[in-house]
Symmetry: C2
Subunit: 214 residues, 2 copies
């Protein structure tokens, strides 16, 4: 198989790449990185990503890291496979580009911090810090207020079709939907419908199954 | 003029977009946003960016925000103008894509926090927090260690030609070169040569002049 993903199925960044490959209907070999054993901080993984973070991708001679960069590569290099996730026309692509940056710079910060407090800490038996939860719920609420307005204008965040922008939200959204932070999504009707729609995608459900069978 | 930039010349994100337009040799109208008066948090600016952050870009009917998304748009939409900053070939573009994500997710965090402590706080007459400086200098040093290795392999961060990856570093690098954090760059010979090279670009010097004349 040409494509190899080196990662961990519990990692949101790894899940993001798997979702993209599934949407594209591309086969891949999954190389599980044992993060508890620190494999991501050692060779051979650091020959793919010197920053020591999962995932890494190999496609023949090409080695890539950073999940969002990997997904943009997959979306363009395999434009004609499976679900179209980006556009070639510059103005349409620019709208996706803005959505991708908003996910990375506005949504991901508070969402990941909440997932850490509400999902990872309980799993590790560490006490949740209520002040941190409150602070990041307030930050996420502001982002979701703007998403609620956006989703009255179009069905998905970057237009009327599902794109890489929506896909990049799936891992953190799915973790948060199993926590009290679910209310932030449920109380905003357009956001709530969008979450239900994107989470139901077969490509994503395959990732969820892989995570649950872990 | 078709392109309008709404921003503030002191803002690194605004400078990033101006540098890109200059590299492309594109004319633009600059609409100065008075951030001390809070213009970025009010209409009409928020009709371009509902998140209330500079810069915003208008290109005919297209309205964009997030400096890195704006620059990707400019680089692709005006691919045939001025300096080529991206590639059409997916594997070559993927290398730029990784470099762009590394800037955004590894370099920018500590670099921006250091610029805040060492440039903005002294300007505002606020005391510098030495512990924060130390913490982020250590983080930035780790990134620059990897850049030093990378720059022994190729002249620029994403290959042997100047790309959007290098350009995105310019605003924060330039601010830090006027602070004690300059030593972090100067003590790494390949990083130091790269900084001198990219800072000397006429397109960037035009932005520096605009900032100095502000």
């Amino acid at each position: 198989m040409a494509i190899k993903v080196h990662g961990n199925v519990m990692s949101t960044a790894t899940q993001r790449v798997l979702a993209c490959l599934n949407e594209k209907g591309l086969g891949y070999e999954f190389v599980s990185i044992d993060m508890r054993a620190g494999e991501h901080k050692k060779e051979p993984f650091t020959t793919i990503n010197p920053f020591g973070q999962v995932p890494g991708l190999e496609d023949e001679d090409l080695k890539l890291f950073e999940s969002r960069a990997i997904n943009k590569y997959i979306a363009y290099a395999y434009a004609d496979n499976g679900t179209p996730l980006v556009f070639k026309e510059p103005k349409k692509m620019a709208i996706v580009g803005v959505g991708l940056e908003v996910e990375a710079h506005h949504f991901d910060g508070p969402a990941s911090k909440l997932a850490w407090e509400l999902v990872v800490k309980p799993m590790k038996g560490i006490a949740i810090d209520d002040a941190i939860v409150k602070e990041h719920e307030a930050q996420l609420a502001k982002v979701l207020d703007l998403y609620e307005i956006r989703l009255t204008e179009c069905k998905y965040l970057s237009g009327d079709t599902f794109t890489l922008t929506d896909l990049h939200h799936l891992p953190a959204v799915t973790y948060l939907m199993a926590t009290p932070a679910k209310a932030l999504f449920d109380t905003r009707p357009h956001v709530s419908a969008w979450v239900a729609d994107i989470m139901a995608r077969p490509a994503w459900q395959k990732v969820v199954a892989m995570k649950n069978n872990n």
